[in-house]
Structure formats: C-alpha cells, structure tokens
C-alpha cells in the first residue's frame, strides 16, 4: 500500500553522505509500489478482485506479525488501550486495494498512480479550504490551487487517451 501522507510525519532533513546512499533505495521502494500494483491487476482478473485484495492483506499481516514478534519493540501501549476511532484505518485500506485491482487493467499503472495522487492532493487542498469534516478552515495559497489545477489537467489528458 502506498501512503504518501504517512511520510509527512518525518523529521527534518539532515545533510550527510547517507542521503545519497538512501535516495536510490527510496526510488526503488517507489518502484516496488508500482510492481505491487502491476501484480494486482492481472491477479484480480484471474481470481477476483476481493481475493487479490485478500492476498495482499493476508500475506502482509503474516509478515508483519512475524516481524513484530521477533524484531519489534517489546514495550508500548496495547492496541486495546487506544481510542477506538484510531483503529478504523484498516477498513479504508481494502477499498484502495480493490480499486487498484479494478483500475490498472483498464488505465494502466502509471495513470492509476497519477489519479491516486490527485485524490490525495485534492483531498488535502479542499478539506483545508472549505473546512470539511470539522477541520479548521485555512486559506489555501495560490501555488496549491495551481498544483491542483495542473493535476486536473493531467487527469483530463489521461481520460482523452
């Protein structure tokens, strides 16, 4: 699964030679996301979209469980101690993966990724500007509107083929 917003929680950049070493690795990780989407489309056509989605979440759960068991942190609050609303993220992931398996055979992987990205950008710009879902209303500057406009143009170009 690809979650750009999760990345924005990170710390500020530090300058070191490590940066240059890590950069190709990050690009490779991004390439991996397209490979994942590329595997999903044909798989969904063969075994069904929900089964393809289950393969992602089933295998992912198993790997993460093993990682957590053998290499994960020992301490920290239990999931049962947290507010329940923080736990609902898991219901949203499958929607995204199902849509991936549906879309990639028809519009291709690169274009699916652009559409996903425009959804992510559009959501943040519109929610900030209109204060939807109880968010505080913030003025969205011209550059972000311009960015959103360009992404819409990109989508129109894809739709026209």
């Amino acid at each position: 699964m690809q979650t750009l917003d999760e990345v924005s929680v990170g710390a500020p950049a530090t300058k070191s030679g490590l940066r240059l070493l890590l950069l190709p690795l990050v690009i490779l990780a991004g390439m991996g996301l397209s490979v994942e989407a590329g595997l999903l489309g044909p798989l969904g056509v063969q075994v069904g979209h929900l089964w393809a989605t289950l393969s992602i979440f089933g295998v992912g759960s198993a790997i993460l469980f093993l990682l957590l068991l053998f290499a994960g942190p020992q301490k920290g609050p239990a999931l049962t101690d947290l507010p329940r609303w923080q736990l609902i993220g898991g219901f949203l992931g499958p929607m995204y993966v199902v849509v991936l398996t549906l879309a990639t055979p028809h519009i291709g992987i690169a274009m699916t990724m652009i559409a996903i990205l425009s959804g992510q950008v559009g959501k943040s710009v519109l929610i900030d500007h209109f204060g939807w879902f109880g968010a505080t209303r913030k003025k969205v500057n011209a550059e972000r509107w311009l960015a959103l406009g360009l992404i819409v143009v990109a989508l129109v170009l894809i739709a026209r083929g």
Partner: protein, 150 residues
C-alpha cells in the same frame, strides 16, 4: 465501466487513502509503525475475508492455482514501509516523497509500455507524457507552498 467513472473512483480511492494515512499516522506515533501497520493489515484481511464469504461469486481459478510470483505484491508494500521508516528522517519528507513518486511513475510507465507482469501493454503516447509533465510541475508547486508554510 466508462473511463471517466473509473478515473473518478480511483481519485476517490486516493482521497480515502489520505484519510487512512492521517488516522494511521496518529496511531503510529503512539504504538509504533510495526504495530499500527499490523493492525491495518489484520483489519483489512478480516474485513475482506467477510466480504468474500458473503458477496464474492465463485471463480474457476483460486489464489492457490496462480503462479507463486503473482502473490508477492504484499512484500513490496512491506519493504516500502521499512525503507520509508529508515530513510525519511535522513533525507527529509519532501525529497523522500518526490523520490517515491519518481520511482512509482517511472516503473509504472515501464510496466505499461512493455506490458510486464501480465499487464496489457499501453504505448507511451504524447498525451501521457504531457500528463506526466503537468504532474511534475504540480509537485514543484506543492513543495514550494509547503516549504513556505513550514
């Protein structure tokens, strides 16, 4: 399904993903990335399993019948997550995000163009290249605006 409706659905999925990331970001801060991801994946697997049991029609081919390499998609997602956890504090959010998108789109275009992994080949047309250019410019504006705020 018409192309426009399909595109709208994919854009909507991006928005949903963004909401999920916001919720998970909060969760990850308190319990750690591994635990929050495991929760996301387990809830995802269980809810998809329920949907399959009650709504999915029978298919001639099952997950056990397809070549094993077709089932490796989840590995790429987990590796991505691990790389990001390690790299973002070093290279910074903006650079990491742009690098991911470059990798995604570059690989996406390669898979599309050559029809790798059993995908239908979609030739790299001029309008597709123009769409990429627009997106590149959009990213530049996004980061200029977020830098000014930060």
């Amino acid at each position: 399904m018409s192309l426009v409706i399909l595109l709208a659905v994919v854009v909507l999925a991006g928005a949903v993903l963004s909401v999920q990331a916001a919720i998970n970001g909060r969760l990850g801060e308190s319990v750690g990335v591994l635990r929050s991801s495991l929760l996301t994946f387990v809830v995802g697997a269980v809810s998809t399993g329920l949907l399959i049991l009650f709504f999915e029609p029978a298919h001639a081919v099952s997950l056990l019948d397809v070549p094993k390499w077709q089932l490796t998609g989840a590995l790429f997602g987990v590796v991505y997550m691990m790389v990001m956890v390690g790299a973002v504090p070093v290279v910074g959010t903006a650079v990491a995000t742009v690098a991911v998108i470059v990798g995604q789109l570059g690989m996406g275009m390669l898979i599309d163009n050559f029809g790798w992994l059993g995908n239908p080949a979609i030739e790299l047309s001029s309008s597709r290249i123009l769409a990429m250019v627009c997106l590149g410019l959009a990213l530049v504006f996004m980061y200029r605006s977020s830098r000014r705020v930060g």
